[in-house]
Symmetry: C2
């Protein structure tokens, strides 16, 4: 008799597989208020690792963390015309506080450009104060009509960077630095997700930006996910908030700004890139549990041994959980760790103990084989690096094999049913972009032939990458 699958198979219904996995791997639950989410400990552990790694990269890029208020006076948002137009439909509004109706309604931050500029305009006096490089880890709220866990939630967690510079060139270089050194490097080398770096078209730009750099990942179903963005804001917010500095030549000048963000949405990307019909597969460099050591049976010597192995592996710098909950059947526990995507399981029963071996189950390439217990410390680091490399390779292969070069809008739309299409932007243009949008297909980004990011939409040889997107 065939076992009933733990999850709806991806091939049957990808969105349902996604929802199944998130619930059964205990990553998150829907919150009681529509569109909100509860991030459960296993899912939050992944987010904590993302935070730790990204935070170090952000600090290496010279930014300092700070914290700005959740509550923004509604009037702030209206100061930058495009910005308010973009965000007004998504706002949550506080009208009552402390038992009274408020004089001015308060907006729950959807992003913090406005409130941060209010303070930048006070803090920045002279060229000596520039560049001012600030980051914050925070929750933001954008009302979602079609919520999906991690991908589109009314409240989500993110980091948002906000910087002010003396020149256009310095701001542009910093936005590009974050795009590549912080985001792309983290996504490829830690999340093991292949990303395409490009610029957004005018239609897809952040509300208030003069340029938006993006990182697009291909999900398991061939759709695209925007994994992070880095914006050049030009002087739009500086004008709206009068953010000026005294130059070396004693003239008052408006600053040039950037902002950039990445969020818990990356957790959704992680699931949709690396997950399979048995659950999640967590890249070892991200994993907060790299190895689980399981006692198969309630046997005193076995339990003592798994604990000892746990200590030894931890001392060797690995992130280890010991699972000696022998009052739960072994099979159920093994399936659960598989669902959660822990890269390596070390399984030990009485017979293994006698032979001095353990069963090594590898989640990423799959398969099980006995290994000498004494070899684990030297073996596992290599195994984990192999697994990390395999995940990135698979992600890259999926993107290259499911991306096609096309010449017409119809071909592009057709290709987007199963993957991505590349079409010269000169042949597509804003009109072709609008036509594709009618069919639910968007220009994910513009790239140059050599893989670099074009400095303008109309740079010669610019290619549009088009796809359906989350």
């Amino acid at each position: 008799m065939a076992k009933a699958p733990v999850l709806t198979p991806q091939a049957d219904d990808f969105p349902r597989w996604y929802q199944d996995l998130i619930n059964k791997a205990e990553l998150a639950d829907n919150g009681p208020v529509r569109g909100t989410m509860v991030i459960r400990p296993y899912g939050y552990g992944l987010w904590e690792r993302m935070q730790q790694d990204m935070d170090a990269r952000i600090k290496s890029a010279g930014a300092q963390n700070a914290y700005f208020p959740l509550f923004i006076p509604q009037s702030y948002l209206t100061r930058e015309a495009e910005h308010v137009e973009g965000f007004a439909p998504e706002l949550a509004v506080v009208t009552h506080g402390g038992g009274k109706e408020l004089d001015e309604p308060i907006v729950v931050r959807p992003t913090s450009e406005t409130i941060i500029n209010e303070y930048f305009s006070k803090w920045i006096q002279s060229y000596r104060d520039l560049p001012l490089l600030i980051n914050q880890w925070a929750n933001v709220v954008r009302w979602e009509l079609r919520p999906r866990l991690f991908l589109r939630t009314t409240e989500f967690l993110w980091q948002e960077g906000h910087t002010a510079h003396a020149t256009f060139e310095d701001a542009r270089a910093y936005a590009a630095r974050i795009h590549r050194e912080v985001y792309a490097d983290f996504m490829e080398n830690v999340l093991a997700i292949d990303v395409v770096l490009g610029r957004k078209t005018a239609k897809e730009r952040f509300a208030g930006a003069i340029n938006t750099l993006t990182l697009e990942g291909m999900m398991g179903d061939g759709k695209a996910l925007q994994m992070g963005t880095s914006h050049e804001l030009g002087q739009n917010f500086a004008k709206a908030f009068n953010t000026q500095y005294l130059s070396k030549d004693s003239t008052q000048e408006l600053v040039w700004q950037t902002s950039w963000g990445s969020s818990t949405r990356m957790l959704g990307g992680l699931v949709m890139v690396h997950g399979d019909d048995n659950g999640l597969r967590v890249p070892p460099r991200l994993a907060h549990v790299q190895v689980v050591v399981l006692a198969i049976k309630d046997d005193e010597a076995v339990v003592a041994k798994v604990r000892e192995i746990g200590d030894t592996l931890r001392a060797a710098g690995l992130k280890v959980v010991v699972d000696d909950r022998t009052d739960t059947p072994f099979g159920r526990r093994a399936v659960d760790w598989e669902l959660k995507g822990v890269p390596v399981r070390v399984e030990i029963g009485p017979r293994d103990l006698e032979a001095g071996t353990a069963m090594l189950a590898r989640r990423i390439p799959g398969g099980k084989a006995p290994v000498a217990i004494d070899s684990l410390v030297s073996l596992l680091p290599t195994v984990l690096e192999e697994d990390q490399a395999q995940l990135l390779r698979e992600s890259r292969e999926r993107r290259t094999s499911r991306t096609v070069d096309v010449a017409t809008i119809d071909e592009a739309a057709e290709a987007a049913a199963t993957g991505w299409a590349r079409i010269p932007w000169a042949d597509l243009g804003p009109e072709g972009e609008a036509k594709l949008a009618e069919q639910g297909v968007s220009v994910r980004c513009l790239v140059a032939e050599d893989g670099s990011v074009p400095l303008a939409d109309d740079a010669p040889g610019t290619i549009a990458v088009v796809a359906r997107a989350y």
Copy 2:
């Protein structure tokens, strides 16, 4: 001519000194919405260090981090009668989302007992799921009519722990463990703040708790600050949310719960305990900047040397900033670092360089003396540990010297003008407590003669510690 003081002296106007220090040391600014705050990078760096240290302690106590939504349906709060009575006057309410009026108003979380119990009741099935130990780092909102930066703000940052246990005894032991191992140990050994551990009277208890454990610190003006609390919730929320488990005997039982929190308020305590008329003094174990190495003049050899010393000290594990901003006058920079309370300044000019010495300025004991540059690596760790010990000693001496044993309510009220009073709870009681309250004096906590925490208000020999409080 006497120099104008940088800050309003403490003795002239303690609240104004506090506000001055927070602004001039660049710890925080008032936010635009009444009662909110902007935590600036230097202040946020202190909070990050608090988070890192506390987070490790919380995890050592077995709790895992998770994240619950900011938005709570208003109906949840009303389920526990005392809880809603306590929090209703402080709520911020969202009535509009996505451009529409909402069917049910949403509350911005003032604390998360209700929403967390909604999920605990789903997640907890059997005794095997207990204890369930959860913590979250989050922002919360409580409408403040008399806000003061860090001490009482409409929005603040905190951690809130929420746990469920099979028995009353287990819950009680866990609340006590957090109280002592996480909070008290952190406050004394990292913040260098002497705290009195006790239980709150019924009047001062958390809304919905059966017992509240507190840690009270004495500020520089002799007033008390509640630095953190750990609550036994009994089965109050379990009843309201039907949070049950199947026992080993196959009966359905309500869980026993705890919750516990500490917040950015600790930053206010840090300032009021360790600050002096020249600014903040940061305990070295907390400091994100332990040492600043200053170039006195714009001299090539000097600048090269301070950078070299910075690298050497960093390699030795110290947290170092190199200040080579020689386009700002040295005196101004020195005053600024003093305001910020960096424990050690290493100052170097051309003459020092010639002599192979640096001027070592110590913020905590005060004073300056030349030391050999080569001795810094071996000298500074000892200096910093001395400074750490001094701050705790001063904090402890202040509390003991300004606490008096009294016999009557009038004496207690009088003593509270300048410090704390201890009076037998049997002599004071709820009626005496009410009388003191009329004079702005409260029972901060109940303690036992031997310094332990009484297990009941009416335990024999219980002493009330009374004071004015922030």
